[in-house]
């Protein structure tokens, strides 16, 4: 699921022995179903969404064909919407930073530990990835409130005297968001670490460097690009995840995803919802392009 894997696969696949190039139609038959799905159900809708974002919205109808930049202007001039954009970016940045920090430590531990431990760590990291987001939301939903597990556990341990609630706070939203993005950061960083020879650490230790110096001088420089890739991937996922922050966070925590849903299903303002989506698409595409340019710089360095 990582760009890192995607990239290497392209470069390796090009020099595969090729057979049957005398029948150039065959590969297109084979790719056709995949292309139909992508073009008809992703390409076409995206174009229609782009068109829709310029349509008019009058008299509470879904949309009226026309051409206006009004919705894009609204996004940036209406304080409600521009604040939502800022909130989304801010929340995604902070959450990706923490998920990369936690994922990095986690990945280094999994990398250094013997194989048996590693399997357990990987299994643990798969949990947030394989359990439905809605189940995770519900899990935290029972943990944070006044009568939830956290408050009750601290109360019975005698650490607090009054029940308290962390539910519907930005902290809860943030905990949930990091939980969702953590596995992406972990698996990207683990695959980067797996490409490094572990003996390099021993050599560094033999030369007299204490662990932290080894980390700073050897391991960190080797994984710097990987960290950036992990960060941008986490950022992409954090930007797109809206259910978790909107269910766990305060009512005033409006993210772009939440507003898209609100405008689409609640307010029936399709043009505005589309304009918001286009902004999100552009943001994701920009983050992906940035990642790719980082990656190609890295592979150029290695070759």
């Amino acid at each position: 699921m990582t760009l890192a894997q995607t990239d290497s696969s392209i470069s390796e696949a090009t020099d595969v022995p090729v057979r049957a190039s005398r029948k150039p139609v065959v590969p297109w038959f084979l790719i056709a179903p995949a292309l139909v799905i992508v073009l008809v159900f992703f390409g076409l809708p995206t174009l229609q969404m782009a068109r829709m974002s310029f349509n008019l919205h009058v008299d509470q109808r879904l949309y009226v064909p026309g051409f206006t930049f009004e919705h894009y202007r609204t996004l940036f001039t209406n304080p409600l919407f521009s604040k939502a954009i800022w909130t989304t970016v801010q929340l995604a940045l902070v959450a990706s930073f923490f998920s990369v920090a936690i994922g990095y430590t986690f990945a280094i531990l999994a990398w250094l530990k013997p194989a048996r431990w590693r399997l357990l760590f990987v299994g643990l990291a798969l949990c947030p990835l394989l359990i439905s987001e809605i189940a995770i939301i519900f899990g935290w939903w029972m943990f944070f409130p006044k009568n939830g597990l956290l408050s009750q556990a601290l109360l019975s341990a005698g650490l607090i005297t009054d029940k308290f609630s962390l539910m519907y706070t930005e902290f809860a939203a943030f905990v949930g968001l990091v939980y969702v993005t953590l596995p992406y950061a972990f698996f990207i960083l683990l695959s980067v670490l797996d490409g490094i020879d572990e003996q390099i650490l021993e050599s560094s230790a033999d030369l007299g460097a204490p662990p932290l110096v080894t980390f700073r001088e050897v391991l960190f420089p080797l994984t710097r690009t990987g960290l950036l890739v992990a960060f941008s991937q986490s950022f992409i996922w954090a930007m797109g995840t809206y259910a978790t922050p909107s269910a766990l966070g305060p009512d005033t925590l409006w993210t772009m995803g939440f507003l898209i849903q609100e405008q689409m299903l609640g307010k029936h303002n399709w043009p505005l919802a589309s304009a918001f989506s286009m902004l999100l698409v552009i943001g994701v595409a920009a983050a992906m392009l940035l990642t790719r340019s980082l990656m190609s710089k890295r592979s150029a360095f290695h070759v």
């Binding site: 390796e12 065959v26 519900f138 935290w140 007299g208």
Partner: protein
């Protein structure tokens, strides 16, 4: 004098640091295990609560909410919708993904990087964007009396936008491990490409096929943002129903639904592990 001090400091650092780091790494591991398992275990425990309210501590235990879940037509219908849609997604995305991956592995394709990026792109798009796009493009489309909007088929295809690129990526990596001399040999012995594919290649990549099919199934089973945009009351999936009822009021029934979703995923993962172990044993023999 100061050099001696520095040296002493260095050795002290060398001796202390590993120990401090070891303690820290254990503490971190503990924190991580707690962090990841809290929402999972809390749900499992809550599903056996007898009370109608969600509050701790739990005093009364029963399987009452399981009975309630399996007795409710609304929840069972949602579960059936989820499973049907997930099966459909699996069929669509494995077929399309495996064929495309095979083409990329075995044939020369002009502009392959472009096509590769195009096929992978939907995987990186937020579900809310994909859901909105498909709803706008196909919301009003009707074929005779058959309306796309709200149909299970439309959700299957929407879910395939995530599942198919994943299958494609996994299978591309798997096909690269195949020893193609064997395939060439079968051609030399008179095997037709299609026959050879099913008799020689498929058994060699069975682990990859099983894993990617099950991942596709799991993705579709868990997804709820696209499904929220594309389903109506009759076709809503279990995660959509959970999301809607979480917004109104949470009961332990939601915990039961979570446990059932997670159990299904767990079974899928076990199948992958068992299959993988079986293949390893075969190779060893």
């Amino acid at each position: 004098m100061s050099e001696i001090n520095l040296a002493r400091q260095a050795t002290l650092q060398q001796r202390l640091e590993p120990r401090v780091l070891r303690v820290l790494s254990w503490a971190f591991t503990g924190f991580l295990v707690l962090y990841i398992l809290i929402p999972v275990l809390i749900t499992l425990v809550m599903s056996f609560n007898n009370a109608a309210m969600i509050r701790f501590p739990i005093t009364d235990w029963s399987v009452r909410w399981y009975a309630d879940f399996f007795g409710s037509t609304q929840w069972m219908d949602a579960l059936i919708n989820s499973i049907v849609i997930a099966l459909g997604t699996t069929a669509i995305s494995t077929t399309a993904g495996i064929l495309a991956a095979w083409a990329f592995e075995r044939y020369q394709i002009p502009f392959r990087t472009f096509w590769y990026m195009l096929i992978m792109m939907p995987l990186f798009m937020p579900g809310v964007v994909l859901g909105l796009g498909v709803a706008i493009a196909f919301g009003g489309v009707q074929l005779g009396s058959y309306s796309f909007y709200g149909s299970r088929e439309l959700v299957m295809i929407a879910h395939s936008l995530w599942a198919m690129p994943l299958v494609f990526m996994l299978m591309e990596a798997t096909f690269r491990t195949v020893d193609y001399r064997v395939v060439e040999a079968s051609y030399d012995l008179g095997g037709r490409p299609i026959g050879s594919f099913f008799e020689i290649v498929v058994p060699m990549v069975s682990t990859g096929i099983i894993s990617s099919a099950l991942f596709a199934f799991v993705i579709s089973l868990n997804e709820f943002v696209m499904a929220l945009f594309l389903t109506d009351r009759d076709t809503q999936t279990l995660p959509v129903l959970m999301w809607l009822s979480l917004r109104s009021a949470g009961t332990p029934r939601l915990a039961v639904a979570s446990v059932i979703l997670a159990l299904t995923v767990f079974v899928c993962m076990s199948v992958i592990m068992l299959w993988y172990a079986r293949q390893l044993r075969k190779v060893a023999r």
